[in-house]
Subunit: 372 residues, 2 copies
């Protein structure tokens, strides 16, 4: 244990934890920190009861005598017993894990949604596991196998399309819920933001500031949710009596590069807007970079809006005016919905749309004189 002492010198963390080791332990099967984990039988033996009683003491404590329960709990403490989830799930035919499948863990929206998912799951005794598909069907299949063997009780999809390739059609899926964007195939309930309303807020702001030539840098390819944002843009333009000029409605793929490209195209075509409404923040960031590279000031020369309010948005110069996704709330609602599905079987609703908020920062101003 002077190893531990050594540690104590160099780092002040965790030091005294070591002293928690039960030094006084049972000599034989030293209960803790042993090579093989304690089983329910070990507990039963020590508590002098049957394994059935141990199981009951754990899962239905009210069905067991107080004194017995006490004995069992002590034995559990001594052995450091943890239920073997493998065996339990095999017996029960279901696990207490929820699988979250995402094509891209790096998505700036993902981590906060995940936090909402996890909190809600945890408060109901479920754990969360993340599957990362990289849009690769092979990988998807792996997770499908995982699901097939009941290793997860439910599925959260952070993708608009079931990621299981050919097998998708025949896949037996557990109860599932989509987040962030509707799931295209499979009739799966969906929890997300009201994309149309959100886009509408952005375009309305721009119009209120006096803009009429408002470009929309969209993305019809990667996320289904994005096409709804375009709908918001169009209805906003229509409602203001402006209509939409297709020369300044571009299609990209929601990346920074895509925003950059859009600006270049607009300059080349000489069909410049006074404002850029972008389908997401990444695109907006690309637009800002391109504009700044050409020597323009934002928002004096051009206004820019995003969508999502990714963490980076507030750190841009100028900080980006955008639409905030209630990410944690989305995660929470999605998990709640899934858990309801798990117990009730029937989806109470097919789509939950949360309210997006306009976050006004510094990338929007009235159009430059003479250019409106």
């Amino acid at each position: 244990m002077d190893i531990v002492q050594n540690f104590a010198v160099t780092f002040d963390l965790h030091v005294s934890l070591c002293s928690l080791q039960p030094r006084d332990e049972t000599p034989r099967q030293s209960a803790v920190s042993n090579s093989t984990p304690a089983t329910i039988e070990d507990v039963a033996r020590i508590a002098n009861v049957s394994i059935a009683t141990v199981s009951r003491a754990i899962h239905t404590p009210e069905k067991v005598a107080n004194s017995t329960r006490l004995k069992v709990n002590q034995a559990i403490a001594v052995t450091g017993y943890t239920t073997n989830a493998m065996a339990r799930s095999l017996r029960l035919g279901r696990s207490n894990m929820i699988l979250v499948v995402a094509p891209d863990i790096g998505d700036p929206n993902f981590s906060n949604i995940l936090i909402g998912l996890e909190n809600e799951a945890r408060s109901h005794g479920y754990g969360v596991l993340i599957g990362h598909t990289q849009n690769d069907a092979q990988r998807g299949l792996e997770y499908l196998k995982f699901l097939n063997s009941n290793q997860a009780a439910g599925l959260i999809l952070f993708t608009g399309i079931l990621p299981f390739g050919h097998q998708t059609m025949t896949a037996r899926l557990p109860p599932s819920v989509g987040v962030f964007e509707p799931v295209f195939n499979g009739g799966i309930p969906y929890v997300g933001v009201d994309d149309i309303a959100g886009a509408r807020k952005a375009v309305d702001l721009l119009i209120a500031e006096g803009h009429r030539k408002i470009a929309f840098i969209g993305d019809s390819r990667t996320r289904l949710a994005y096409s709804r944002r375009r709908v918001g843009y169009e209805t906003g333009m229509d409602a203001a009596g402006i209509g939409h000029d297709l020369r300044i409605v571009l299609d990209g793929d929601g990346t920074i590069e895509s925003g950059r490209l859009a600006v270049e195209q607009l300059f080349m075509r000489d069909t410049l807007p006074t404002a850029f409404m972008c389908v997401n923040d990444q695109t907006a960031i690309g637009v800002m970079i391109a504009l700044k590279a050409r020597g323009y000031d934002i928002p004096e020369d051009f206004s820019v809006t995003g969508f999502d309010d990714v963490p980076q948005a507030v750190f841009m110069t100028p900080s980006l005016t955008t639409i905030r996704q209630p990410r944690t709330a989305i995660g929470k609602h999605a998990m709640a919905l899934l858990l309801e599905l798990l117990s009730n079987g029937e989806p109470p609703e097919t789509e939950i749309l949360l309210r997006p908020d306009l976050v006004v920062r510094n990338s929007v101003a009235p159009p430059a004189r003479g250019r409106r």
Copy 2:
């Protein structure tokens, strides 16, 4: 065997699979395309062999007659059978999943390392699951239970400290490998970048450009790897005969905000450097924001370097000169090491340090005249 014939026609969809049910067989439990997944018994029945043979056909095909293997494979195709990983792992006492535990999924370094991990794992028949602890011991415990029940064969730690709270000392951990930063407790092998060498490259560049007053914005609190970067800074300064002026060595926590704060402090104390060497890109971004907010130009007025080369670095204005982590390679090596541990038992080496590369972009220039 016209059962099989049938199948050949309609493959892919489960539609006609029902017609494949052995009509001659047990009338009860209809074999295929049912609500419950096919088991090894279903396969055995259809192939007219024993379950032992099926198992062998799958795992040790060479031990089974060609004709038999064929029958089995067909039956597997018909039933859509997948091995129940739950049962298999229970029986084997180990699973083929690797758990990756990270405190923060949103870390810009994480996703690329993960890709390296996954690719390597997959090519060896292992799957990867991600655990997200948010630095919460409760959550850590959950994953510990997961490990305890053999649901994962190995562990990758994306954190400098075992995330299992009190239980850490007594935890029976599977073979484990740390990535990105050394794991403080537990004597766990580590794969990462050579932080000292990397930091040295940055400081050497700055010195070569003519800087002598080089601030170091560090972080001694969150990541162990970061203290190594400071060592690199110090040895570089010493080697150049500059020594280190403690007034311009600040300690932060590796966040954008922390970089900002450091700049403000330096301005308040009136101990301005000509260059900011930052412990990571996040800090550097914060420094750049603060500098720009005060109206300074980078790199004309101040030079800035980062470390990591996060995706955002190239999109800054000016783009950030930094040290690149070979993230995918780190993931690959870490997983390879873990898999070796899994088979051999003994760690072949205790630390693998990959070479960091200097990425010269536009945030470094010679110091402004009159300020050196």
